[in-house]
Amino acid sequence: MKPRLRSLIAAAGFAALLIAPAVQAQTTLLNVSYDVTRELYKDINPAFTNWYKAKTGKEVTVNQSHGGSSKQALSVAAGLEADVITMNQSTDIDILVERGGLVAADWRKRFPHDATPYTTYSVFLVRKGNPKGIKDWSDLARPGLSVIVPNPKTSGNGRYTYLAAWGSVIAKGGSEADARDFVTKVFRNVPVLDGGGRGATTTFTQRDLGDVLVTFENEAAQIAKELGDGKFDVVYPSITIDASPPVAVVESVVAKRGTAAEAKAYLDFLYADEGQKIIAKHFFRPRSEAVLKANADRFPPIKAFYVEQLLGNWNDVQKKHFADGGVYDQIVVNR
């Protein structure tokens, strides 16, 4: 046993020596992203590699890392060497500006559409035929209804849902007190708070729990049209929240690794026609008018508000609602 083990270790060490230089010779990028973009970037990355090679003749491989948006931002702040970050909430990029300027302070201005190459919205996924007749936000507060939402404390998806519900009242001329009353009623109907968007989807689709799942359009549409065996329908509320996921280059990392050109090209590719087509394929709404039109059947018209336009500055919203002891905590603790 022992001599065999030793020779095994020696062989492994030797193999590592052989492989190591080959790995180093190639340029790699690390894209640190949030939970539900796994499939999107799995398609984007090889397409980018070909596109970049055709353009410059250079070989680039993109690696990806996924998890809860804030957790991922935290890893980057703690030293995970991400060349680019693609998050679902701008506060998760702002934190990297605050923590030692890993990202340029004007990151929103460095790419079109406030550095959001595609959009998505909080919508409803209901069981086939919509047996509970859920049409709009106000229906979610009905007593006895069961609403599945990811935990707003740990998930960007959950925070958007909460703010969408809040904003739906404000946008119709309601007061802060009305909004609070409404959101309290909605969260009274929540039986499970999963850690992230995927967890909530699993609870709704696999555990058969809940009458409605509130999640991003890309997730909901993909389940309704491709993954859910035709057991689910998407419902678009009368107004919802614009949840455009922002992207940025991590300046300190690309400076150190010498990958600034590749990192910028990678994010540019998301805006290029080819990238936009892949994005549309994954039910994210492309920014390109032409690509959006070509996929009109996938993306019905939708009315949405921006957080900053209706509810104020993101950081203030974050503090007021989701900080410890904030409005969300008060609502769920006393529900």
Binding site: G68, S70, K71, L74, A77, I95, N151, K153, T154, V190, P191, V192, L193, D194, G195, G199, T202, Q206, R207, D208, L209, F322, A323, D324, G325, D329, V332, V333
Partner: protein, 284 residues
């Protein structure tokens, strides 16, 4: 090497060389792997003022999570102490087909990634799962309730008691029971007066290990708990929640409370164990 140098009568020989070397190694190893990371937790917490610290660790939601985490962990360790003992007994005292296989199964909760365990248990105990679909009509909801937390903690704690009790049981000669019987003891008396006292120290160790593991468990619990504030949030989730808000200090404050709590409980269990070992004359 001659036998004379190996068995030098003027020097007491030990298998491992040198007390100084072993102690030094022990200290360095413990410091690097345990003490330094733990003291980092305490140092980080110390940046918080006392009143702030107190406010963080005694907020109602956090207190509710302590109750669930420590309560469920103690209960799970208790359940495992009883059933783990039975399992160990069956494995040591009887031979039956497939015994080796069952013996190996006991260790599986160690090897299984906890997230997989959590998802599997949730799938089983949810309203539409194999077990859940039977229990739910009876009014017993397991998944997404505190009961689900208990189920997950029992699952991950199984190997601890079995593996600590098993070797002691193997050493326990059946002659002892025969002697007790020949002196007129009933089965129950033999068990409580002869067997249990000998097993108690090992049983307590297993209990303590299962408890300690359960208190810190996150992966398997998080899927089945439901995570409803004040009802089914475990303390590790409160720590993760703080981290998600970039509140490192708040997170370490709660972690400190958990550490102190757990350390106190483990110390009590160790003292109990020493006391019971002494009582049965098995001084260590």
């Amino acid at each position: 090497m001659s036998a004379a140098t190996l068995f030098n009568p003027t020097r007491q020989t030990r298998v491992l060389p040198g007390f100084g070397l072993s102690l030094g190694y022990t200290l360095v190893y413990l410091s690097l792997l345990v003490l330094i990371p733990l003291s980092a937790v305490f140092l980080k917490t110390a940046t918080l003022g006392w009143s702030e610290f107190w406010a963080v660790v005694t907020s109602p939601r956090v207190v509710a999570s302590y109750k669930l985490s420590f309560g469920a962990s103690l209960l799970a360790a208790g359940i495992n102490a009883v059933f783990g003992l039975m399992l160990a007994w069956a494995l040591v005292r009887y031979t039956f087909p497939g015994k080796k296989l069952i013996d190996a199964l006991v260790d599986l909760p160690f090897a299984l990634p906890t997230a997989v365990a959590g998802i599997a248990l949730t799938a089983l105990y949810a309203g539409n799962g194999w077990v859940g679909s039977i229990l739910e009509p009876l009014g017993l909801k397991v998944a997404f309730t505190p009961l689900g937390v208990l189920v997950a903690l029992v699952f991950i704690g199984v190997p601890f008691v079995v593996r600590t009790v098993q070797p002691i049981l193997e050493d326990l000669e059946t002659e002892l029971e025969e002697a007790a019987a020949s002196l007129g003891a009933h089965r129950w008396q033999t068990f409580t007066k002869v067997i249990l006292p000998i097993l108690l120290p090992a049983l307590l160790t297993g209990f303590a290990l299962a408890f300690a593991r359960a208190v810190g468990e996150y992966g398997s619990v998080i899927f089945i708990a439901g995570n409803i504030p004040m009802v089914s949030e475990i303390t590790p989730l409160m720590i993760i929640t703080k981290l998600e808000q970039y509140d490192y200090v708040g997170a370490t404050a709660i972690a400190t409370v958990m550490l102190v709590f757990s350390f106190a409980l483990l110390l009590v269990i160790n003292l109990l164990q020493a006391w019971s070992a002494k009582r049965t004359g098995r001084n260590r």
